[in-house]
Amino acid sequence: MSDTRFTKDHEWLRLDGDIVTVGITDHAQEALGDVVFVELPEIDREVEEGEACAVVESVKAASDVYAPLAGKVVETNQAIVDDPSLVNGDAMGEAWFFKLEIADAAAFEALMDEEAYTAFLAAEE
């Protein structure tokens, strides 16, 4: 998973060409508890870095999911809308949220890698 990057908002990103796939981390789904609702952005929406563009709700609370990088939404994962419990089951894999077309691949590289995220989690404890 060396090509996976992470944010302080507990999201993960994977880059393929100029398309980045975004999801929430296993730590995030664990902290949220049972996910019961997901709302995803419209296709073609232009988002700024840090802009709230999806929602994930557990039985306990609602949380925003932010665009980790600026870009355009090119695909969303209807499977997690239809069955939100997938987010608890496979947060780092099948239960991705959306794909962004990004202009600046360097910004991706600048995000935390897995080692840095693990250290970030440890410091947050």
Binding site: I24, A28, G33, D34, V56, S63, Y66
Partner: protein, 396 residues
């Protein structure tokens, strides 16, 4: 994405203040509880269960909720306030402060009632039991009040009752709730006398060697028991209950979703000092005899409101789609005019759909009325529906 723990957190005191613990604190942690601050206490919001308990219920709010509806769940509600009210005629004295028929409460019976203020608002909702002469000599009453309101309630009772009755907080007792369709079978095994209680019955019963006060009541909509136990015996009793094959622990998260499905009010969300029993749909708590004299705090205000109709009423809400509408969500009518506020809202594990309750303008309070819930700036259509959302299964 903040790793939010509980929307119950807004009820807690400042996080800097050291939290109180219940007598089951060590057990919660041993069982894998996620502890959160609630009303000044460290309380389990949910469990990550392991071992034999995990085979019954994997833990987490959904699984704990569904286990309670299917089997029996053990809740620690020791944060709630237990108190004794003694005096020459404590029932008559208390009637000045509540709309319920307390003097008519027979020995061994319990009743849900409200502490009201002069404006007809609700200071707290509470359970009042008449344990009987053999348990509380002199006609003393047993009270259970909300954790977040206990200091306020006790100060109010003392200030108003003065010499008519004395209030003694029972801080040396824990409170456990055993709830669910299998609760009676569990109790029949451990304490047959408790299992024989009728709904809202109350008795002093030895359970697992501990001298308990048991009532046939709860706050989940299921049959069940609330067990007041001496603090030093609480953990042993909880372990005995968890040893029963039907029982799994459940946290405050499941307790909240269960009571919402049952259409029951949470003080601080659905009830407060400005909401009245008429607005809250709790006029059934006003005793028949009390409706002759209206001689309780705010009685005349409540009488007038009952006659003229309240301007807003508490209703059940079923949002269309799957998005939950949380407490604080604004309710609007078809024209976009302000129509009220959601006071409790979340996801119903039993119905696999969002549910909510809130106060709406009277003209929108009839079942079937269409309203809109402003969720993230968008009007989400919802129907006004009768409560409970999930039928009560109290023993009758």
């Amino acid at each position: 994405m903040p790793a939010g723990d509980s929307d119950a957190e807004h009820l807690s005191l400042t996080p800097d203040q050291p939290l109180a613990t219940t007598p089951l604190d060590a057990l919660h942690r041993e069982l894998g509880a996620r502890m959160v601050p609630f009303a000044g206490y460290a309380m389990p919001v949910q469990y990550d269960l392991t071992g034999a308990l995990a085979e019954r219920c994997k833990g987490g709010v959904l699984a704990e909720h569904l286990h309670c509806r299917a089997q029996a769940s053990l809740f620690d509600v020791s944060h709630m306030g237990q108190a004794r009210l003694d005096g020459a005629a404590p029932a008559q004295a208390l009637e000045a402060l509540v709309p319920g028929d307390i003097a008519g409460l027979k020995p061994g019976r319990q009743r849900y009632t409200l502490l009201t203020n002069e404006a007809g608002g609700i200071i707290d909702d509470l359970m009042v039991a008449n344990p009987g002469e053999d348990i509380f000599p002199g006609g003393g009453l047993f009270l259970v009040v909300n954790a977040s309101r206990k200091e306020i309630d006790i100060a109010h009772l003392r200030a108003e009752l003065r010499d008519a009755a004395t209030v003694t907080p029972l801080d040396d007792r824990a409170l456990l709730a055993l709830q669910g369709p299998a609760a009676a079978a569990v109790m029949a095994r451990l304490a047959p006398a408790a299992a024989a209680l009728p709904f809202m019955g109350f008795a002093a019963v030895i359970v697992g060697g501990a001298a308990c006060y048991v009532s046939r009541s709860g706050y989940t909509g299921e049959d069940g028991f609330e067990i007041s136990v001496p603090a030093h015996q609480a953990e042993a009793l909880a372990r005995l209950l968890l040893d029963q094959p039907e029982v799994a622990p459940a946290g405050l998260g499941a307790r909240d979703s269960l009571r919402l499905e049952a259409g029951l009010c949470l003080y601080g969300n659905d009830l407060d000092e400005v909401s009245t029993p008429v607005e809250a749909g709790l006029t059934w708590t006003i005793g028949k005899r009390r409706k002759m004299a209206w001689d309780f705090k705010g009685g005349l205000v409540i009488r007038d409101q009952l006659g003229n109709g309240a301007t807003r009423l508490r209703v059940g809400l079923r949002p269309e789609g799957r998005a939950p509408a949380r407490a604080g969500t604004t309710i609007v009518d078809a024209e976009g005019n302000d129509a009220g506020t959601v006071t409790s809202g979340g996801f119903s594990p039993t119905l696999n759909a969002p549910i909510a309750m809130g106060y709406v303008r009277r003209d929108l309070s009839a079942d079937g009325s269409r309203v809109f819930l402003m969720v993230r700036g968008k009007p989400l259509p919802a129907a006004v529906v009768p409560m409970p959302f999930v039928p009560h299964r109290y023993i009758r």
